[in-house]
């Protein structure tokens, strides 16, 4: 506060305070907060006070060192700096109960993944919104049979009343460490003396209690300053089909029997908007994209009796936002097809980590008690097994009766029993030891490139992971074709290309701004491609032109891989209604893409791609359709709003000095550099502190204190 009053004095004098501010505070960049999320019953995440939380920095050495922070340290509150090895549930729970002595925490993210695994998600993901409930089958509810994520410590779902940030920049970490070593360690084991190095974290969240409260406060009209406090999570699903569907005619389509090939697009972590999701999301949708590409030619020449519908669901990490919305729309005649049109479902789960080339096919034992469903599922499993012959893939069935892993297919089963399977690389518990965490990156998939390759060479280099996923994509494509009733003779022509798979893996996991992606996206989208990897957090719902970058990338990729180029101009491509009279059904979507750049030139030959790929809204039905904000059946996740988020470090003076600057003037304690004799002090005091002067000093001090608040 003394620092702030200095700042305000200078600003009153008319001098710009920026230079003084920079001398006092060191702003920390690249710090990612943990934000508050709310659902029907709880609030999770972190909250800071409205003017930021200030604490003396303490770099934690071990769990036993927590004693300093929680009881013995003489200068509470403390801001705890944790190495990633110390970011465990037991330490965080002890900090949570620290009541007033803990001002916040900052986690230093290490470059290498922790060896023992780390997953802040729960042990049983989405346990209340899947199909396994007490009414469906009590023995299988709440992961009684198999705990899917045994390494889960549930930190993402805890509520903290102090801010927690993650430190990603090495320079910042070094600055903090230097500051700590310079000021906060006492000399020869004595207690450290003021001034001390402190950190201030701002991440004040507006929403509170639960979704119903925050949505109600969004809508209040007659308050003095109406403010939005939270937004529902959501984005868009991507879907496409092998045969174009009339999208304006909603509801049941006569004669259509569809095989749905589903996967998920999103992931999450403890911190906001950081979700590398390599194994949990990218492995699945890259496989499905490759399978769709493999099926493209065959389905054009010899279309099978049933249509294959590719669906990429967004928001699945938060109680199945995308799939619950699509199933709701199918059930209520708001989608191009309805549930009677669905023949079967094949879902691709986490498939990136298969060891010994074995993949597992999961099915739902409860719906298989019905004989016809059981027959369908058995034949689907046989189709998958036979499609895997002669390839480097083995499809096995778990040896014991086990529920489905957390998957979008569970939402279809909630509506009605449908035959379907989920393909995954784990027989029971996840092989992914970093499920929904910041460590689920390319290294988790063993995606390594040889050294000394340029970016373009890395883009083209076919890694082992790419080969494995391409094999799986071939198997899935062939199985889908056979399941859709296609002829066996055509199966040999269906093959996924490892080159396409490795380019996709590079683009989604290493660097999205590469030449291949740039050729496939429209000109207005090219600025969204970055030189870092994508993050797959679902975020808050916006208009279709502002859908999340990964969603739009998948949309354009699917359009290019399953669509055809048609020879029309750019204007006609945008105004697709001109191409045909509006009386004909809306079968296709059109997108104008940039195309490749000709060598030695920046000119690009764009072209129009016609495909059946569309976006469908992925916001939970609890929000816009039903307005039941306390729903138990649908996802009710919302994200709080905030004004600004920042972090800074500075030197803080003792509390006495902050509260009473006049006390300082009284010169009771000598400053080491200017220690006057006490008699001189007395006479100086008498001369200075006349009645008039005292009054002026008091008034100035009060003005300063008022301004500094």
């Amino acid at each position: 506060m003394l620092a702030l009053s200095q700042v305000s004095l200078f600003s009153l004098a008319g001098v710009s305070c920026n230079s003084v501010e920079q001398k006092i505070y060191v702003e920390l960049n690249n710090m990612v907060p943990c934000v508050r999320l709310l659902n029907a019953t709880h609030q999770i995440g972190c909250q800071s006070s409205i003017s930021g939380d200030v604490g003396v920095i303490h770099v934690l050495e071990s769990e036993a060192n927590l004693e300093w922070v929680l009881s013995t340290g003489p200068n509470p509150p403390y801001m705890v700096i944790l190495e990633s090895a110390l970011f465990t549930r037991s330490i965080m729970m002890k900090l949570k109960n620290g009541t007033g002595r803990v001002a916040g925490a900052a986690v230093v993210v290490s470059k290498t993944n922790p060896a023992e695994g780390f997953s802040p998600h729960t042990k049983c993901p989405n346990e209340n919104t899947g199909v396994y409930s007490e009414s469906y089958d009590p023995t299988m509810a709440h992961c009684n049979v198999t705990v899917w994520n045994p390494l889960g410590n549930g930190l993402s779902y805890e509520e903290f009343d102090f801010p927690i940030f993650s430190l990603n920049d090495d320079n910042d970490t070094e600055a903090i460490r230097q500051c700590y070593l310079g000021y906060n360690l006492g000399v020869n084991g004595s207690t450290p003396e003021y001034p001390l190095c402190a950190m201030q974290l701002f991440s004040h969240m507006h929403a509170v209690t639960d979704t119903a409260t925050c949505m109600r406060r969004n809508d209040i009209n007659f308050s003095i300053n109406p403010e939005m406090v939270c937004d529902p999570l959501g984005d868009y699903n991507v879907w496409g089909s092998t045969k174009p569907l009339n999208n304006t005619a909603k509801g049941h389509k006569e004669g259509e029997s569809m095989v749905i090939a589903a996967t998920r697009l999103d992931s999450r972590s403890f911190f906001w908007d950081v979700a590398p999701g390599a194994e949990s999301a990218v492995s699945g949708f890259v496989t499905l994209l490759a399978a769709a590409h493999a099926l493209h030619n065959v389905t054009q020449e010899a279309h099978p009796p049933r249509t294959i519908l590719y669906t990429f669901f967004q928001g699945e990490a938060f109680d199945y936002i995308g799939s619950s919305r699509m199933v709701y729309e199918m059930d209520h005649k708001q989608f191009a097809i309805d549930l009677d049109n669905v023949h079967s479902v094949v879902e691709i789960g986490q498939v990136g980590l298969r060891s010994s080339s074995e993949l597992w096919v999961h099915s739902d034992p409860v719906s298989r008690r019905n004989n016809s469903i059981n027959a369908e599922v058995s034949s689907l499993i046989d189709t998958l097994k036979s499609a895997a012959m002669n390839l480097n893939v083995t499809m096995s069935v778990p040896s014991f009766s086990q529920p489905l892993p957390p998957s979008s297919f569970q939402r279809f089963l909630r509506a009605r029993p449908i035959p379907g399977v989920v393909i995954a690389d784990h027989q029971s518990a996840f092989s992914n030891r970093y499920y929904e965490s910041i460590y689920d990156k390319a290294a988790n998939l063993n995606l390594t490139y040889p050294a000394n390759l340029t970016e373009d060479e890395q883009l083209e280099f076919v890694t082992e992971t790419a080969n494995a996923l391409a094999d799986l994509a071939t198997v899935v494509a062939r199985a889908l074709y056979k399941q859709a009733g296609g002829a066996d003779a055509q199966l040999i022509n269906i093959k996924a290309e490892p080159k396409i798979v490795t380019q996709m893996l590079y683009g989604f996991l290493v660097r999205s701004n590469n030449t291949w992606f740039q050729a496939l996206v429209p000109p207005e989208f090219k600025n969204f491609l970055s030189k870092l990897e994508c993050h797959y957090y679902v975020g808050v719902s916006q208009t279709p032109s502002h859908a999340r970058t990964p969603t739009r990338l998948v949309q354009y990729l699917l359009a290019n891989l399953t669509g055809t180029t048609i020879n029309i101009t750019k204007e006609n491509c945008h105004n697709s209604l001109i191409i045909k009279p509006s009386s004909l059904p809306q079968l296709y979507s059109y997108v104008w893409v940039q195309g490749v750049a000709s060598p030695n030139s920046t000119e690009r030959q764009g072209f129009c791609v016609r495909s059946s790929v569309r976006l469908s809204k992925a916001v939970s039905p609890a929000f816009d359709l039903l307005q039941e904000y306390s729903s138990k059946d649908y996802s009710t996740w919302t994200e709080s709003r905030w004004k600004f988020i920042k972090a800074r470090i500075f030197l803080v003076a003792s509390h006495d000095l902050e509260v009473n600057p006049l006390h300082f003037l009284a010169l009771d304690s000598c400053l080491p550099a200017q220690c006057l004799a006490s008699s001189q002090i007395q006479s100086a005091r008498r001369r200075y502190f006349t009645k008039h002067n005292q009054k002026m000093i008091l008034i100035t001090a009060i003005k300063v204190m008022l301004f500094s608040w």
Binding site: Q47, I50, H204, M205, H206, A207, V208, T209, T213, R216, R217, I220, F222, S223, I224, N225, E227, V229, S640
Partner: protein, 101 residues
């Protein structure tokens, strides 16, 4: 307004106006009455209108005390229970604090 220069009848009519005005849910008029006319009613030597002014001041003080009691009780109850009342409290509030229940 300087009461010294007013004739006594005008003082009485002013006091009465403020007293009657306070019944229109304006307790501050009663506060003004009490503060302004306290000297006139109780300290100054007696004059004809002083008895009337005295009753007006006493009644204004009574009304003021009643209002203070009611408002204090309501404010205490509302501040304490606003978080628990949920929906009702939100509809009664003009500004709802951000980030705290």
């Amino acid at each position: 307004m300087n009461l010294e220069r007013l004739p006594n009848e005008e003082k009485l009519s002013l006091c009465r106006k403020y007293y009657l005005g306070g019944f229109a849910f304006l307790p501050f008029l009663w506060l003004v009455n009490v503060v302004w006319f306290f000297r006139e009613a109780f300290v100054k030597p007696a004059y004809t209108e002083q008895l009337q002014i005295k009753t007006y001041v006493k009644r204004s003080a009574l009304g003021l005390l009643l209002w203070v009691a009611v408002l204090t009780t309501w404010i205490t109850i509302f501040q304490h229970f606003r978080a628990e009342w949920g929906e009702v409290a939100d509809y009664l509030s003009f500004t709802i604090p951000l980030g705290i229940p």
